[in-house]
Symmetry: C3
Subunit: 343 residues, 3 copies
Amino acid sequence: MFLKNTWYVACQAEEITDKPLGRKVCNEAMVFFKNAKGKVSAVQDFCPHRGTPLSLGRVCNGQLVCGYHGLVMGCDGHTVSMPGHQVRGFEPVKHYPTLERYGFVWVWPGDPNLADPGKMPEFEWFENPKWAYGGGLYHIRCDYRLMIDNLMDLTHETYVHSTSIGQPEIDETPSRTVTEGDRVITSRFMEGIKAPPFWKMAMRANDLPDDATVDRWQICKFTPPSHVLIEVGVALAGKGGYAADPQHKAYSVVVDFITPETDSTIHYFWGMVRQFKPEDTALTAQIRDGQGKIFSEDLEMLERQQRNLDENPERKLKVLSIDAGGVMSRRVIDRLLAAENSM
Amino acid sequence: MFLKNTWYVACQAEEITDKPLGRKVCNEAMVFFKNAKGKVSAVQDFCPHRGTPLSLGRVCNGQLVCGYHGLVMGCDGHTVSMPGHQVRGFEPVKHYPTLERYGFVWVWPGDPNLADPGKMPEFEWFENPKWAYGGGLYHIRCDYRLMIDNLMDLTHETYVHSTSIGQPEIDETPSRTVTEGDRVITSRFMEGIKAPPFWKMAMRANDLPDDATVDRWQICKFTPPSHVLIEVGVALAGKGGYAADPQHKAYSVVVDFITPETDSTIHYFWGMVRQFKPEDTALTAQIRDGQGKIFSEDLEMLERQQRNLDENPERKLKVLSIDAGGVMSRRVIDRLLAAENSM
Amino acid sequence: MFLKNTWYVACQAEEITDKPLGRKVCNEAMVFFKNAKGKVSAVQDFCPHRGTPLSLGRVCNGQLVCGYHGLVMGCDGHTVSMPGHQVRGFEPVKHYPTLERYGFVWVWPGDPNLADPGKMPEFEWFENPKWAYGGGLYHIRCDYRLMIDNLMDLTHETYVHSTSIGQPEIDETPSRTVTEGDRVITSRFMEGIKAPPFWKMAMRANDLPDDATVDRWQICKFTPPSHVLIEVGVALAGKGGYAADPQHKAYSVVVDFITPETDSTIHYFWGMVRQFKPEDTALTAQIRDGQGKIFSEDLEMLERQQRNLDENPERKLKVLSIDAGGVMSRRVIDRLLAAENSM
């Protein structure tokens, strides 16, 4: 159950090379390739001739050529040509609107006629040289909503990520969740604490004393269909916390684009944008590696949770105050799903 | 189809460390851990908060703490506490009575109110320093009853274990099967034969000439739900066989605790207790390694047998006199199952 | 959906050693072994005693002995003997007529009473010392008919095998398909072209200049149930092409015996017979290795095609003129299947 008339991240821009890329999004097998103008196109990964995956083929002069018998597929799902054959009668395959933005290829898996670039989310920092981004991709066998739950309740950091970003004060400090239209925001502000190891590293990178007492914040923002952006940071205690002047703090935005592959698997695009030392590519790599290790700690938990839920379908889970972010996000999804299905 | 109101071996005692141990028994996902008093407890491997496996968590001060959001689970399946939340309304999970005995943790997967330590089987040698035990654990994809059949008809040794404990005389010597209440006993006595390689080794370890003519015995004892203990040994010919004085024989007891994991998979705890040189730990290790190799020879046979039976459900198998032990053991199980299901 | 009253290749003759060979053909689990006269026999891979695979047993004095409890199985599926037991009442298992010919063991998976050696296909070159054969076996997860389609439309060589036997002229030259009774023949004749790498190698092996202009031919011959023999070759241009004198050409026959394992998997026996330098075993090995690499290029395409078709059952494929060979072969199969099922 996922929204289809919306934009999902299909891949990182650098995944599109001179070869086609096959990827399933929302149960749709798609193939991505760069056309003659360098624009990424996406069509169903299915040759109308013999049913082979077009992603096993090649891209010649901006056209997708089937690797089995040379059928040439157009960006609109209509067969362009085939050696020795007329192709007017060929049944078209689906095509999927795409947009390349923020270093990602975005795809609209639903009705192409409804695709609206205006509905792309806006992210000010991706294209701003004052910010730097680093991230990666994980494949996880769980319902995409389990990952939203995970990200909207960061008390799990205390347990799953206890050696890096977790600390007891997350557990001990209540969060507040509000809904603004289709957005859900869960925030937590901790005051007068010591920074955990990951943030000590970030403080040093910001030329701050890593043993100083700090204020720490986590502001999780869900937007449909399944994006969670999290403003995170620490400031020297008493300098204003989240609102402190830049020289007193280390802060960044955790980026989570969750793309359903199937009903029970996801492509999880994770990353971080930061405003400190954006030109320091070694620091970008170091942060990405560190984040990659931390975020990999969630994988087994989520996959085993999914299996446990599958094996116990009758069992009702307990909803607590810390689950408010996930619960409200699911309500937004359900409301939009109902609207989409009634169209 | 297995008995649930009974004791099964869940694990070897040394498998319970300072971490929780997840293990499925009789289709029930369980987590085992040591409580504050050092006693092993078992509850359903399912956090009532979000459904994650509690076995991914940790044990703190004798309490099981969920690794996702810190829920503290009690030995009785009731939530003890959770940071920042009241837990009175939490739905409990199942708990399973356990006993630690004979170097194993035993679990009662059925109704906890019926759990009766008095129903634990008695094994005199496990806690007797005159005997030594060594053993291991195999996971096998077969119905637990196929393993009972295997162990109650040792003519298979002639074929499956032809280079170690098998010999043609097993095939050529009829066995006798009797039922005593819920116990089934199949015995075979061979006289005036040469010992096969494994028993030659045991004779040497008992300071007996390994080329001597011997009498050999095999006494397989099934007790519900799925334990098979086998008295095995050789004695110098004419010294009384099974009843010979200890100085004339080498003998031991093969221990087989078969625990259904699911309908078609088992945890197979195998081992051997012996009365000769019990203090010789190197000999214990040598025997365990030898037995481990021999018993691993059954795995492919049993797993492929299971697949063959699954693919040919209409095919009736042939029951022979050598199958009497397995057939009668299944009758005991069926009778007890009918009684259990009529409760 | 495959024909059963017909001969399939079960294995290469050298696969039958002194051990039994288990192999599934047309959804029937079979075990092959050499009887006392050195003749290969095949029976159901299922012991009538306990259901274990007989292929886990051994062959003793030309008899198949179950590896679990020593049951001796006869070539006709009747139990011969078992230590200590009367076997008259044992339910027989299926037996399958076999023939050893052309270096292969052939099996008739259907009604044994209908097995007719006269229905074996005739191949003049296998037993002719003027020809040499080399080949191998691949296991592929696809319906056997997808492999027939593949072999009856060689335009795929241009794309799948572009670096060895493919060239644009295959695509550009129309083929012609005819049906002769149960046989289907698709042929293509290219004139005045340059040889692709594999044929350059063959020209050198025939002492022909590999940069010469040539005529090239491909004559694909389907015979039921699923054999595809392909006459292939090149001749110096203007020397008569297919009909040219031997000294002007390099030619061979591609051998494809496709044996369904299950509805969606095959044993694919591929090879090549050639008339040039038949005594040169190093050349035989070189050609087999080269062909093995080339033919392995089809595997992923066919397996992914099968998955794509499974996931899109509603989607109708396009039938083109190049598909005539496969389409007509399927018609022959369908006609024979209807006849077989109406018996």
